[in-house]
């Protein structure tokens, strides 16, 4: 065994040009595979982060005709609980907690959505009442800090503060700091938001408790307390969205849900991405092995004569196969290790994210598993690329290989 390593090592060190070419082949194949795979996985994760939360939210409400715990508005003609353009009933208290406990649900929040009529000019507008404090469901279905265009976002202790939708503020010529009156209660405009198209969009936003107070003034008893007419739900991933909707409907049989359809293509794209990654991994691995095989095979053809000589002086086919296999594995080990190093260096040092156009916080992650499998594949390539040419070499008639000079 020691002799084998000595002979193989000696051969590799003396034929520096050929060894370099072979090691470089493994290096290239490994670096390419590890690097591309890391990049692929990283970009997939980044994309999944985006796609996974694309359209992963919905609202649930009970249409008004369902007699759950109905509360009549004073001016039922113009005012009342609304969601998504239609009138709603109230959802029993405690529903939020039940929905929150669903495994497919990331977060849920109660929401009050009421249409008021301005007694001065008769225009109607909707008020959305939510509990400020960074609830994920509020952020995606209603509005979030990032949507602020002027002023600031509502805080948990912002009693008497309101936030206006940008379009509504423009139409009413309202600005941050202006005072408004809703159901006879005074509010100060703290901020203006533009959340875009949201299922729980409103013209005026305020704290949940402020909305309770305002609405209570516009309905026939009893006072509105600890109830909501809309449930805001954030799902764990677009892939379980359908499941989450079904679960909520089972929990609250009278509700209907409203969501975007875009979670469906997002879920599909994520599935496609996973398939692509595996296919590419397979192809890259195959390329690496073929590359290694080619370089080994050509060096064995080049060495026909050496192999013939060794056989002529009493080396068995097995001895020759072991030697070539050892050489091949040594080169694969060196090339694989160097390839991993090069890939790591490129991934960590080069501006990969900018080049690949990946918009994701944090550095490019290098997974030990990818590196290990890249290295293992290089080694496997070395063995395959060693065995095949070694067997080819062993089958040669020594007389034939010695005759070719």
């Amino acid at each position: 065994m020691g002799d084998l390593w000595t002979c193989a090592g000696r051969e590799l060190l003396r034929r520096t040009g050929r060894t370099f070419a072979n090691v470089f082949g493994y290096l290239l194949a490994t670096a390419m595979m590890v690097g591309l795979l890391s990049l692929l996985l990283f970009s997939k994760d980044a994309a999944s982060g985006v796609l996974g939360s694309t359209g992963t939210h919905f609202i649930a409400f009970a249409p008004a005709c369902t007699p759950v715990c109905d509360v009549k508005a004073v001016d039922a003609q113009n005012e009342g609980f609304v969601a998504n353009g239609s009138e709603t009933a109230l959802i029993p208290a405690g529903a939020v907690e039940k929905v929150k406990r669903l495994s497919t649900v990331k977060d849920a929040a109660p929401y009050l959505s009421f249409r008021f009529k301005d007694p001065r000019d008769g225009h109607t507008f909707t008020v959305g009442g939510f509990v400020p404090g960074g609830n994920a469901a509020v952020a995606t279905t209603c509005c979030a800090e990032a949507h602020i265009v002027a002023g600031r976002f509502l805080q948990p202790d912002d009693q008497g503060a309101a936030m206006l939708d940008e379009a509504y503020a423009r139409s009413q010529d309202l600005h941050v700091g202006d005072k408004i009156t809703i159901a006879g209660l005074p509010f100060v405009v703290a901020g203006i938001v533009n959340p875009g198209v949201r299922p729980a969009r409103a013209d005026v936003y305020m704290r949940f408790s402020d909305a309770e107070r305002a609405i209570t003034r516009r309905v026939l008893s009893p006072p509105v307390r600890h109830v909501a007419n809309v449930l805001l739900v954030e799902v764990r991933s677009s892939r379980v969205q359908e499941q989450a909707i079904q679960s909520v409907k089972r929990l609250l049989p009278d509700t209907v849900t409203s969501t975007y359809a875009c979670y469906k293509p997002a879920a599909q794209v994520m599935g496609m991405q996973e398939g692509t990654v595996w296919l590419l991994t397979l192809l890259l691995g195959l390329c690496a092995v073929v590359l290694a095989l080619k370089s080994q095979l050509s060096s064995v053809i080049e060495r026909r004569r050496d192999i013939g000589i060794l056989k002529a002086i009493g080396w068995t086919d097995g001895n020759v196969v072991s030697l070539i296999l050892t050489e091949s594995i040594l080169q694969a080990l060196a090339g694989g290790a160097l390839g991993c190093l090069v890939a790591a260096a490129i991934l960590l040092l080069a501006p990969i994210k900018q080049l690949a156009g990946i918009d994701s916080p944090g550095p490019v992650t290098v997974s030990a598993l990818v590196f290990l499998s890249g290295f293992a594949l290089a080694l496997l390539g070395g063995v395959i690329a060693g065995v095949v040419p070694a067997l080819v070499a062993a089958r040669q008639r020594p007389a034939d290989s010695l005759r070719r000079v």
């Binding site: 002799d3 009493g314 008639r397």
Partner: protein, 236 residues
Amino acid sequence: MRIDSEAGTNCLLLECRDLRKTFVVKRQEICVLESITFSVNRGEIVVLTGKSGAGKSTLLGILAGLDRPTSGSAIFEGRPLESMTNEALAWLRRRDIGIVFQSFNLLPSWTAFENVEAALMHTGLSKSARRQKVVALLEALGLGARLDNLPAELSVGEQQRVAVARTLIHAPKLLLADEPTGDVDPETAQEIIARLVAPVKETGATLIVATHGIFPQEIADTVFQMKDGRLAPATE
């Protein structure tokens, strides 16, 4: 050497029966060896002469188990070579048969020492024992200062001596030498011949030398002429 095959005596080492070897070149079969029948005893020296292309190297290749005859049989110590496995033939070359090639066939990336040592590599000898043996032989052949030189750094005569050393190192029973003195000066030729003949005298080895040129035929027990792939006793 006997042309007929009177096998069975104790001292019989090698016997060829009706050997035939053909090659197919461009779909055409060319016959290189035809009806080769002879036997060689232990301790004999046989010289094969013949013009270039007569088939001497091809015959030696078959006798060394490097090539297989198209038909006929080559029997070494009672075992027909053509029915042996590659593995068994390799073992035969490792222990009993040594060949010096017309073109030396040294490994170009191995030093003189390593080339000779390669023949002992898988014999179970320890590294130090191998070193001792190889150095002693190369020194005896006047290559003591050339141990660590690659073949390309040696003169043709020196390369030939390394090739001879590689063949002699495991003291084979049958020595096959293909044009061993082809490219060397008369003095070196003398020395190489002496080196090849020595084991015959000392250990009863058998030597078969193929040559198309000048070779001291007087040292031979039998001289044998090859012509167009056939064997005939030297006329002269």
